[in-house]
């Protein structure tokens, strides 16, 4: 057994646990400012998400179900672990499975409250996972076909970026990224905006410090997903990292633009289009890489 693997995973997770919330918080703050500007407003300060979470941490500690807390802690832990594995160059599929585990615990946490609104949100969140999962799996397969290993670190030995031969899978990823980032038109399980039919969906019964953990989890997830976007651009040339960062910024802006310009769709449309995207973009790319 290789101790280096465990060591790098642990160190990676610790670093990620410190850095990702900071980056994710800033991303979220920028998101809110940019959204506001797109709507002709000034918007909050960059650190607003941080203040929100600090406020939530200071609120009273209550819970509807006794086990909700455990599930949320596990969800947060696994999202950090997924990020740690990813950014320490670990196995891409493992990252996908661990982040899915995190989503599962988030869903079960919502179910465990047995609140009607949270349950509807949880059911929709499950649908969201089902919608994006095929594309994500096909994306990792395409990655493997290009790089020759599932290890994310493998891109550093490539002499061209993954996107050159896996651009279709990248487009597919962009499509489901909107679901993963919980952006409109696919924010069907819980929306940022008030006055909707399921109150706050999955997070309806999560309050105070629990909600703060959920917020941090979303930040961390966003950083991880942007990492997935970036890894398509990185190769042996160090300049590619800068290119990847620019690409990530542009893609994030693009997602905010989508969020502000599309009305929420029904789950049927989400499932249909996400699966069509997976079948065409993912399926064709995998087939092309396998046989060409």
């Amino acid at each position: 057994m290789d101790m280096n693997f465990f060591l790098s995973t642990i160190i990676g997770t610790l670093c990620f646990a410190v850095l990702a919330p900071i980056v994710g918080c800033l991303l979220s703050g920028a998101d809110r400012i940019i959204s506001a500007r797109m709507q002709g407003r000034v918007g909050p300060k960059l650190l607003q998400p941080y203040w929100d979470v600090r406020k939530l941490l200071g609120k009273d500690k209550i819970a509807v179900s006794g086990s909700e807390d455990t599930y949320i802690n596990l969800a947060l832990f696994f999202s950090l672990l997924a990020g740690g594995i990813f950014f320490s160059g670990g196995n891409f599929l493992l990252v996908v499975f661990v982040i899915t585990l995190s989503s599962l615990f988030f869903i079960v946490a919502a179910y465990s409250t047995r609140s009607p609104y949270a349950e509807v949100g949880a059911a929709r969140e499950t649908l969201q996972v089902m919608s994006y999962e095929p594309m994500i799996l096909l994306m990792t397969v395409a990655f493997y076909q290009v790089v020759g290993t599932f290890d994310v670190g493998g891109v550093m030995l490539m002499n061209h970026p993954v996107i050159c031969t896996a651009w279709a899978a990248f487009l597919g990823l962009l499509f489901v990224l909107t679901i993963k980032l919980r952006k409109s038109p696919f924010d069907i399980s819980s929306s940022h905006h008030a006055h909707q039919e399921i109150v706050k969906g999955t997070t309806t019964e999560m309050s105070g410090p629990t909600l703060a953990k959920v917020e941090i989890m979303h930040w961390v997830e966003n950083v991880l997903f942007m990492g997935w976007v970036g890894v398509f651009f990185v190769y042996a040339n160090p300049i590619s990292i800068a290119v990847a960062l620019i690409a990530v910024v542009l893609i994030y802006f693009f997602e905010i633009w989508i969020d502000n310009n599309f009305a929420r769709v029904k789950w049927q449309a989400m499932l249909k289009w996400a699966w069509i995207a997976a079948l065409i973009a993912g399926g064709l790319n995998v087939a092309f890489l396998a046989f060409m």
């Binding site: 057994m1 693997f5 465990f6 500690k61 209550i62 819970a63 509807v64 179900s65 006794g66 086990s67 807390d69 455990t70 599930y71 802690n73 596990l74 196995n91 599929l93 493992l94 499975f97 661990v98 899915t100 585990l101 599962l104 869903i107 079960v108 919502a110 179910y111 465990s112 409250t113 047995r114 609140s115 009607p116 609104y117 349950e119 509807v120 059911a123 499950t126 649908l127 996972v129 089902m130 919608s131 999962e133 095929p134 594309m135 799996l137 096909l138 397969v141 493997y144 599932f150 109150v199 019964e205 049927q268 499932l271 699966w275 997976a278 993912g282 399926g283 995998v286 087939a287 396998a290």
Partner: protein, 639 residues
């Protein structure tokens, strides 16, 4: 070899005793003692033969040949008798054909071929023996308590428990025959005994539905049996051998020759493993008492089908027609059965579809036929056996105590049956999520598909897995709900049921944690025995990490789900004035009392059986016909 003989004969003895002894206390004692003996013998066999290379025993007996012939006749007569009694023409015709064909084979063809090494043992049969001997007999133990409740709930029925328990043990014996026989005639006899046992067990309650479903099972499985028989004829006449290992070796050196018999055997395996288009027999099988379903789904019957296919894996790697058939049927079955599972709220139906789906994955792996794929297939078999039997036992117990097997009625099970719900949750998680076993096996499956450029399978797996997440997650969620403090209804569960359930949970978890050890101690030796080299789809580092994580998750969940949170408990938000928040009743905008209820989504319009079954049946039937046509063409070309 003594232990092998003991494992085959001892359950037979128990079956005989149980058939003739009617007293409850005596039955309890016999079952407990038999189960304990079988478990001890199985463990002794497994420990004694850990990492064993394939060993073939010189064993050939005229007596066994005669017994096989007699059994063929008995099976044929029983089927014909039932077909006559219930006026089922198709079953009668198929049964008659099989009886005649088997007799001609036994008297005219088989005597010319001599198999010296009748029995064998390798790591795959050790693993199968563990599944049959420990999980299968654990289910027999569970059946003791369950059948008492069953008889109490169905007082209008005749108490046929002696027959029931006799069949359960006969089943185990037949399964041991299948996994240890190198003589294909003996294997075929075991095969047919399992078909007959499940026929009788499915029809146990003798209701109209049960009879209809048992005939569906027997018709499909006799068709499969005829495929097996066709392969036997071909082997005996064209290849002059009935030794399974020789058959495989000859096939590897001359792939064209074995194209037809491999197709025929694969067809037998596909029917037995309830692959599409034959999946309906397994769904029908759930009319039987739950222990029967558990036995059929986890450790016997369907596992015989996939066992045969995994044994044939090296031939699939080189023989195109059967491989394409097996790979495509397995892949399509996995995806479409997973889709249909989404639309079901009946827990047993969800489990049945999930079984069909997972077997599909095993079948697809066998069809790919590389060492990596066989590695994945063996782990899928192992984890599926433990987790699925656990889930069936849990659903059976829940059904007797909450009066329903509908997942929607399992609302609040976390508090109504706290121990049971936790066991069920473990079973569900082991079935579909990292870091537990089934997911790791699926992961290995994916890697082996990618390495072999099986693009269709990759896509089928991606969509099927997404559906898998959906139907398990919503069930898990339903179980986890906490509201109010409903009465605990699990105090009357029998001790034997708890013993079996906790054993299955422990097994499922031990398999997860011990995954790296099982890989090097059981799975690798088999693969190196068959292929001469080993290859693993996953790094040992990842296996170790998963093993550690599964311990961590279980520990945290058990510690945390006891409801020990120190936070102040508050009511749920109901968008109105709560009347009784624990029951989720509130006063609505019209000042009337209303109850907030939520059902899970079943997406019946998209994933309903009516939509998907025709697609499944038509596509897989075409594939089977095409593969047989190709195999026949190969044979014709040889002539």
């Amino acid at each position: 070899m003594g232990l092998i003989g003991f494992l085959i004969l001892f359950p037979l003895l128990s079956a005989l005793l149980l058939f003739f002894i009617k007293s409850d206390t005596a039955r309890d004692a016999i079952v407990v003692v038999s189960v304990a003996t079988i478990v001890v013998a199985t463990l002794a066999l497994c420990i004694g033969n850990l990492s064993t290379p394939p060993v073939y025993f010189e064993f050939d007996s005229q007596v066994v040949e005669i017994v096989c012939t007699i059994l063929s006749v008995v099976i044929g007569v029983i089927i014909l008798w039932f077909a006559w009694k219930y006026k089922n023409v198709l079953a009668g015709v198929l049964g008659a054909i099989q009886l005649v064909a088997a007799l001609i084979f036994d008297f005219a063809v088989a005597p010319g071929v001599h198999v010296e090494q009748g029995l064998y043992i390798d790591s795959l049969s050790v693993m199968m023996a563990f599944i049959i001997g420990v999980i299968g007999s654990g289910i027999c133990l569970y059946a003791l308590g369950y059948m008492k409740d069953h008889v109490a709930h169905h007082s209008e029925e005749e108490d046929r428990r002696p027959l029931f328990f006799a069949l359960m043990f006969l089943f185990l014996s037949a399964m041991f025959v299948i996994v240890f026989s190198n003589n294909m005639i003996w294997m075929f006899t075991g095969w047919e005994v399992t078909t007959l046992c499940s026929f009788l067990l499915i029809g146990y309650t003798r209701t109209e539905e049960a009879i209809a479903n048992s005939f569906r099972q027997i018709i499909m499985n006799i068709a499969g049996g005829l495929g097996f028989l066709l392969a036997l004829y071909y082997c005996a006449i064209n290849m002059h051998t009935l030794s399974f290992v020789e058959f495989i070796q000859m096939g590897i050196s001359a792939p064209a020759v074995i194209s037809l018999p491999v197709c025929a055997l694969a067809f037998a395996g596909i029917t037995k493993a309830a692959q599409m288009p034959f999946h309906s027999w397994l769904l029908g099988a759930m009319v039987a008492p739950t222990p029967t379903s558990a036995l059929l789904h986890s450790s016997t019957m369907v596992k015989a089908g996939v066992f045969l296919l995994v044994k044939l894996a090296p031939l699939f790697a080189i023989s195109t027609a059967p491989a394409v058939m097996v790979v495509l049927i397995g892949g399509i079955t996995f995806t479409l059965a997973s889709f249909m599972a989404i639309s079901q709220s009946n827990a047993k139906r969800v489990l049945a579809y999930s079984t069909v789906a997972n077997l599909g994955l095993i079948v697809a792996c066998a069809g790919v036929g590389t060492p990596e794929a066989v590695w994945a297939a063996m782990f899928l078999i192992l984890f599926h056996a433990a987790a699925k039997s656990l889930l069936f036992l849990c659903v059976g117990t829940a059904e007797h105590h909450i009066g329903s097997r509908d997942i929607e009625d399992m609302d609040l099970l976390f508090e109504r049956m706290p121990q049971l719900a936790r066991n069920m949750m473990v079973g569900i998680m082991v079935m579909f999520i990292a870091p537990f076993g089934m997911l790791i096996s699926k992961w290995a499956t994916l890697v082996s598909f990618v390495d072999n450029h099986q693009v269709a399978l990759i896509i089928l797996l991606a969509f099927g897995s997404a559906a898998t997440f959906m139907f398990w997650a919503k069930w898990l969620g339903k179980l986890s709900g906490i509201a109010g403090h409903p009465a605990n209804v699990e105090k009357t569960v029998y001790k034997s049921e708890w013993a079996a359930i906790y054993t299955m949970t422990a097994l499922a978890l031990v398999f997860c944690v011990a995954l790296p050890v099982i890989s090097s101690g059981v799975v690798m030796p088999y693969i190196s025995g068959v292929y001469g080299y080993t290859m693993m789809a996953l790094d040992s580092d990842i296996l170790a990490l998963m093993s550690i994580l599964s311990i961590a998750v279980i520990f945290v969940l058990l510690a945390g789900s006891t409801g020990g949170s120190k936070k102040r408990k508050v009511d749920a938000y109901l968008a109105g004035v709560s009347v009784n928040n624990a029951d989720r009743t509130y006063r609505n905008a019209l000042s009337q009392e209303a109850t907030a209820t939520v059902r899970n989504m079943y997406l019946a319009d998209t994933f309903g059986e009516e939509t998907i079954t025709p697609v499944a049946v038509v596509s897989t039937t075409i594939i089977i016909i095409g593969a047989f046509a190709a195999a026949l063409a190969t044979v014709a070309a040889l002539l």
